[in-house]
Amino acid sequence: MTGETFVIAEHCSRFGDVGSIYWVDTTIVPIMNKEGKPRQYIAIRADITDLKLAREEVHKLNDELEHRVAQRTAQLETANKELEAFSYSVSHDLRAPLRHISGFSRMLEEELGATLGPDARHHLDRIQSGIQKMGLLVDELLNLARVGRHVLRPQPTPLNSIVAEVITMLEPDSEVRHVTWLIADLPAVECDAVLVKQVFQNLLANALKFTRPRADVVIEVSCEEEDGQPVFMVRDNGVGFSMKYAGKLFGVFQRLHRSDEFEGTGIGLVTVQRIVRKHGGRVWVNAEVDKGAAFYFTLGMEKQAESKSNEATAGGQS
């Protein structure tokens, strides 16, 4: 008859006189006499030294790993903040000398007035246009830095009104041309209104820019559901581009057109991508040379505030 078995887990033991420590699990089984008292014990010792050491090693590695991750994260955060502060102050401080070059070269032009020959005047004009370009570049870099620092404030946002505002804002650029805007019913989604407005602003301004050679411009904004998530599309019938270069499109300062064909800084789409990613979404593109471009994006936050039913689709209308 045996009593209740008990286990002494993970305790140290020594090898005889040598004294080197090893680890054991000891299971003790009492053997009882007739009176129910332990008469003797059977001790079963299992050497778990290797297991124990391996386990300790795993713990140590885990701790180290966690520590290293925390350290790296902190380093990355610091580097990121420094980079943002740097790009901000560079852009910010670059504006001042630019302003001075612009101001004083204009004053020069006015002071010299009639004595300026056509060549000299032309060179002064080139200085001014260089200043304009750099000013735009600095502004857009500042804007990109601002988007990076912007804390997301998601709220239910009716996208149609945002698109309408952007179109009104862009109207002066499109006035002289015939632009057909095809704006579908868009849902209200949970997103940061300020940033998403910027997305539409950049995409629609691009659409206007790259349709400039077209007599009839068609710009389309629509939304389709894919895997339960709204996918937004901005499409134009402009000059498009080869998909060979699509990978370059979202890199800072990357441009697919010569600046004397289409002006630009190569920051607009980076800004779009940064905003979309901030929302946990993604952006992609489909284009073809001379056949226009279509930009797609999701806003990641799947929870839809309100889904407008599109009545026009009833009755199988195409």
Partner: protein, 158 residues
């Protein structure tokens, strides 16, 4: 300078910016009665009639203060704060000149009650246009509060 007849106090540390602003103001024939101080401390001495400006009187404030934000010693925000915090200076129209939208956001964030903002544009024509509009509004259109009004406010608050 005649301390009683001042239109604009320009607070600007950068020589180039100062020259451009003065040039724009004079070109638009807005005013020749402009006084320039080069840092925030001097601006406060001037507006609070102390130190080298102790001879000035509170009842003859400039009609307009053009205030740069990035200033040595005491920055523009602090100047604005002190002007707003004192009934004797609270009513002086102050236009903040910023270099970026961020700076403007920062000022509005503090709710320091600047009367308006000029974002120093890179383009000189825009800058002239802005200076002209601001000057026209604050020097010509806007009626400054009556001096007696300022005094009453002062006694009411003390």
């Amino acid at each position: 300078m005649n301390s009683g007849e001042l239109d604009i106090l320009l607070v600007e540390d950068n020589q180039d910016d100062m020259d451009l602003a003065l040039h724009a103001l004079q070109r638009e024939k807005l005013s020749n009665r402009i006084f320039v101080v080069r840092d925030g401390e001097e601006a406060l001495d001037f507006l609070f009639c102390r130190g080298v400006y102790a001879h000035r009187a509170f009842d003859r404030p400039p009609k307009l203060v053009l205030l740069d934000l990035k200033l040595p010693k005491v920055d523009g925000l602090e100047v604005l704060k002190q002007l707003q915090g004192d009934p004797r200076t609270r009513n002086i129209p102050t236009v903040v000149m910023t270099s970026s939208k961020e700076e403007r956001d920062m000022v509005s964030g503090y709710e320091l009650g600047a009367n308006s903002y000029i974002r120093k544009p890179v383009d000189i024509d825009q800058f002239r246009e802005t200076v002209k509009n601001v000057g026209l509004y604050w020097l010509v259109v806007n009626q400054p509060p009556p001096i007696s009004g300022v005094r009453e406010l002062e006694t009411a608050q003390s």
